[in-house]
C-alpha cells in the first residue's frame, strides 16, 4: 500500500470521500496502523457521541462498530486512516466515520456481510455486525486497490 508522504493520506480514490459534503463539520483524521490506534479511536468516538448526546446504547453501538472497522482496516487493509466527522443537516445531528485503506480489497462484499463469514482473511462477525449497529452503512472496495467503509449514526 502507499502512503503519500506529503499529506499522509491514503491513496485510494473513492466517491465515498465526498459523502454528505454539505453537512460535515469538525473533521478529525486519525491513522490506523497499530492496536493502540484502535483504542485511541474508541475514545474519540465516545467523546463525540457524548457531545451530541447520543443515548448510552447508541454511543456503545457506534464505538463498537468503529472498533470493528478500525480493526479490519489494520488487519486486512494493511493499515489506513479514518475520518471522523460531525454531521448536521439542520434537522438533526450525527457522526460519520469513513475508514479508508489501500489494501487488498474485499473480494465478495455480500459474503463478507453475512455473519461469521471468513475469507481466510477473516473479516468475520465484525463487518456484517457493524452494519446493524449504525443507521447508514456504505462500502466501496476494489480488489488490490483498497477499501472504504462509511458508517453514520444520527441522534434520535
Amino acid at each position: 500500500m502507499t502512503f503519500d508522504t506529503r499529506s499522509n493520506a491514503v491513496q485510494f480514490e473513492t466517491p465515498l470521500l465526498d459523502y454528505h459534503l454539505a453537512w460535515r463539520t469538525g473533521r478529525v483524521t486519525l491513522p490506523l496502523r497499530t492496536d493502540e490506534d484502535v483504542v485511541g479511536l474508541r475514545k474519540q468516538v465516545r467523546e463525540r457521541a457524548v457531545a451530541i448526546a447520543l443515548s448510552l446504547v447508541d454511543q456503545t453501538k457506534l464505538v463498537t462498530a468503529a472498533s470493528e472497522l478500525a480493526r479490519n482496516t489494520i488487519k486486512y487493509g494493511g493499515g489506513g486512516e479514518v475520518h471522523l466527522d460531525g454531521l448536521d443537516d439542520s434537522m438533526r445531528r450525527g457522526i460519520g466515520l469513513l475508514f479508508v485503506d489501500a489494501g487488498q480489497g474485499i473480494p465478495d462484499i455480500d459474503s463478507a456481510l453475512r455473519d461469521g463469514f471468513t475469507t481466510g482473511g477473516g473479516l468475520g462477525l465484525g463487518f456484517g455486525g457493524s452494519k446493524r449497529l449504525v443507521d447508514e452503512f456504505d462500502v466501496d472496495s476494489r480488489p488490490k486497490e483498497g477499501t472504504a467503509v462509511l458508517i453514520i449514526k444520527w441522534k434520535r
Binding site: S55, L56, V57, R156
Partner: protein, 288 residues
C-alpha cells in the same frame, strides 16, 4: 437609490412614526384576539413595541434580504421568544404568523407618505418590505413547530416513564407489566429500562407481562427476543407472561422462535416458575 438608502429611509420612517405604526398594528391584532383581557392586551402591546424597535434597528443596518444575517439576530431571538410563548399558551401557528404579517398594512401606509412623488421608489421599497416580512412570518412558524415538537417529545418521555413500572416480587425476581401499544421506538426504550432495572435490583429473573399489550408485531417481537438475549448475556433470565390467545396466534403466524423462552399465561404461573428457579418455594402454613 441604493439598498442602503432604502434601508435608511425605511428605518427612519419607522422610528419617526413608531407610535402611530404601533397603534395601528396593535389595533389590528386586538381585533383578532380571542381572549381579550387586560393581561393579553398588555403582553401584545409589549411584544409589538419590542418588535418594532428591533425591526427598525435591523433595517438600519442595510441588510434587507437575508434575515439570517447578524444584524437580524435580535429580531429573530425576539420572534423565537414570542413564538415559543404563544406555542406554549395554545395559540395556533397561523395566529403567531399573523402577528408578523399584520405589520405590513401600517408600514405600507407610512411608506407611501415617505416616498411621495417617487412611484418607483415606493414600489421597490414596498416589495422589499413585503418579502422581508414574509420571511419573518415563516420564521415564526418554523420556531413554533420546533417548540411544539419539543413539547410533544417531552410529553412522550413522561408517558413512557409512567407506563414502564417495575415491581419487585421477591428477592431476585422482578415483574415488568407492559401496558399499551408498543411501537418500535417505545419498545427500545422499554428494553433498555428493563435491563437497567435488572442490574439495579440484582434480579436474576425478570417476568415481562404483556397482558396489557393489545397487539404485537414483528418488530416488537424481535425487540422482546433481543431483550431476553441481552438479559441472558448479563446473567439474568426472562419469562414472558400474559400471552393472550390472539397474541399467541400472531407470534406463531409471524414465525417468531420462542423455543428457549419460558412463556406462561398468567403472571402468577410465571412467579411460581421464577421462585423454583431461584430455589425458593411457597409452603402452606400448617394449622394446629
Amino acid at each position: 437609490m441604493s439598498m442602503k438608502d432604502y434601508a435608511d429611509r425605511i428605518s427612519q420612517t419607522i422610528l419617526d412614526q413608531e407610535a402611530a405604526i404601533a397603534a395601528e398594528w396593535l389595533a389590528q391584532l386586538e381585533a383578532l384576539l380571542v381572549r381579550s383581557n387586560a393581561a393579553a392586551r398588555e403582553q401584545l402591546r409589549s411584544h409589538c413595541q419590542q418588535f418594532l424597535k428591533a425591526f427598525a434597528g435591523a433595517t438600519r443596518s442595510g441588510e434587507l434580504e437575508n434575515i439570517e444575517h447578524r444584524s437580524w439576530d435580535e429580531v429573530r431571538d425576539l420572534l423565537s421568544e414570542i413564538s415559543a410563548t404563544r406555542a406554549r399558551s395554545g395559540s395556533t401557528p397561523a395566529e403567531t404568523a399573523t402577528f408578523v404579517f399584520s405589520l405590513k398594512q401600517p408600514l405600507f401606509s407610512r411608506l407611501r407618505d415617505a416616498f411621495t412623488g417617487d412611484a418607483d421608489g415606493l414600489a421597490s421599497a414596498s416589495w422589499t418590505i413585503n418579502t422581508l416580512i414574509d420571511k419573518l412570518g415563516l420564521f415564526t412558524i418554523t420556531v413554533f413547530q420546533k417548540t411544539k415538537d419539543q413539547i410533544i417529545v417531552r410529553q412522550q418521555q413522561e408517558l413512557l416513564e409512567l407506563s414502564t413500572p417495575v415491581v419487585k416480587l421477591w428477592d431476585g425476581i422482578l415483574a415488568l407489566p407492559l401496558i399499551g401499544t408498543l411501537d418500535s421506538a417505545r419498545t427500545q426504550v422499554v428494553m433498555e429500562n428493563i435491563l437497567q432495572k435488572i442490574v439495579d435490583t440484582g434480579a436474576i429473573i425478570a417476568i415481562i407481562d404483556i397482558t396489557g399489550v393489545p397487539t404485537v408485531d414483528t418488530l416488537v417481537a424481535q425487540h422482546l427476543m433481543k431483550t431476553i438475549a441481552a438479559a441472558r448475556l448479563m446473567g439474568a433470565d426472562c419469562i414472558i407472561s400474559g400471552i393472550r390467545p390472539q397474541i399467541a396466534q400472531t407470534i406463531v403466524h409471524l414465525g417468531v422462535n420462542l423455543e428457549d423462552v419460558i412463556t406462561k399465561a398468567t403472571l402468577a404461573d410465571a412467579f411460581v416458575v421464577a421462585l423454583e428457579r431461584t430455589g425458593a418455594t411457597i409452603a402452606a402454613k400448617r394449622t394446629a
